[in-house]
């Protein structure tokens, strides 16, 4: 017996109308890499899936003014190979490159990664680093929320019933910013992230840190930039001692948000090391590329 039905939506309005019908429990499907596993475990979770993968607006990556707008059904592979993203937000392309293996990257989508909101989702720290906003369409309105507000916790978001994530948008970072995404998994491919960190920053003309954004992933149930870490770094001269201090503050911030857990003994030194490594990569590369700190 058929356990759930399938409908294809041609446009956003049709998708929302289908998702909002009270008589059936519907879920949007694009890549299916999370949803079909959920439906395999619990075939009666939804009455129907609504295919949004062919809605043209959900499939493009555009630069609109000083913003980058990514359709929710853009696959990780498309994001990785997109020249606009490579130029403006390489930290996000780096995060996408480390997801799953080629099959999963060809299928899975950025909107799906955000909607599923796994604690270990690899795009989330990169999107937090980019101050990304999640655009949501419902029958009543279209609105957007910062990613850190949209995600309430593991597999828990502010997506209203009948709503659809349509786009992810963020302001183009200053061109002198360098971004780094580092992932630690149990093996290279197909690994669930144990911890990740996305860092983006730049120096000013005097060689002090002008801008810095630090967003760990898999470290806390919510996602967001670690402001105490950033405050300790801003307007300072990059040094290993400074980076180690920042790593320690990241550990304290993780403990403040998540509390101490069974995994803390492992995660604390690892997060500190990842933060040091990421900061070192961001600023040592700038220092090499720009030894006088000019411009």
């Amino acid at each position: 017996m058929q356990r759930f039905g399938y409908t294809r939506a041609a446009c956003i309005a049709e998708a929302i109308a289908l998702l909002s019908q009270a008589e059936s429990r519907s879920a949007p499907i694009a890549g299916g890499t999370d949803l079909l596993i959920q439906l395999r475990i619990n075939p009666t979770l939804y009455d129907r899936v609504v295919d949004v993968s062919r809605i043209p607006e959900l499939r493009c990556i555009e630069q609109i003014g000083d913003e980058i707008v990514i359709g929710a059904a853009v696959s990780f592979s498309d994001a990785i190979s997109n020249p606009v993203l490579q130029n403006t937000a390489p930290v996000l392309a780096q995060a996408c490159r480390q997801i799953g293996a080629v099959q999963i990257r060809n299928m899975g989508t950025i909107g799906g990664n955000v909607a599923n909101a796994a604690a270990c989702a690899d795009t989330l720290p990169a999107l937090a680093c980019l101050n990304a906003r999640v655009e949501i369409a419902t029958e009543q309105s279209t609105f957007d929320l910062p990613i850190s507000e949209f995600i309430l916790g593991p597999n828990n978001t502010k997506l209203p019933p009948g709503g659809l994530i349509t786009r992810i948008r963020f302001g183009i970072p200053h061109p002198l910013n360098r971004g780094v995404f580092i992932k630690l998994g149990r093996r290279n491919a197909m690994a669930i992230s144990r911890l990740t960190v996305a860092v983006m920053g730049r120096l000013d003309a005097n060689g002090t840190i002008r801008e810095i954004r630090v967003a760990p992933g898999s470290a806390t149930p919510t996602i967001g930039r670690f402001t105490p870490v950033e405050q300790a770094l801003i307007r300072q001269k990059p040094s290993i001692a400074l980076f180690e201090h920042a790593g320690q503050l990241a550990v304290e911030e993780m403990a403040r948000i998540s509390g101490r857990r069974w995994s803390s003994e492992y995660k604390e030194p690892v997060l500190a090391a990842l933060v040091v490594q990421a900061l070192d990569q961001v600023f040592s590369e700038i220092a090499v590329a720009n030894p006088q700190g000019a411009r």
Partner: protein, 174 residues
Amino acid sequence: MNIAFRLNGKDVQVEVREDWNLLTLLRTGLGLTGTKEGCGVGECGVCSVLVDGRLVNSCLTLAAQIEGREVVTIEGLSPQEGQPNDLQLAFIEYGAVQCGFCTPGMVLAGEALLATNPQPTRMEIREAIAGNLCRCTGYQQIVDAIQATAEHRRHTASSINPQEVITPEGGQDA
């Protein structure tokens, strides 16, 4: 529901159950059992097929989603029906097959790589098959077979020549 798509170079129209994945359509609906089911949750890669030239897990693709797409399975890889293509021959030649369960997915992962990167490094080959698990031979022989096929195709005008047997470098003709 009824869907139309291109399967191994032929237009097909089939009745599918809306909750079927592509793997079930291929194996149960169409009797194409070359595509295997392993984990069923996208971890092992044995169900890999090409959809519009891209490698996907057929266990995580809904059959209804392939309406209008072009699907290539292991059965449709060789231009000569029933004959292995050069990459499949290389798998045999290099001992890259033992139980054979991962082989269809591995071969398609290799083809997906070679279609976009005719000169892959060993690292790139390893990355391209990272979503495909093998529990018998290990991976060296599989990487060897894909690498040899890449070299072979660069040195021959036609990209697919099932008659030619590839031998390891410095080896004897089989």
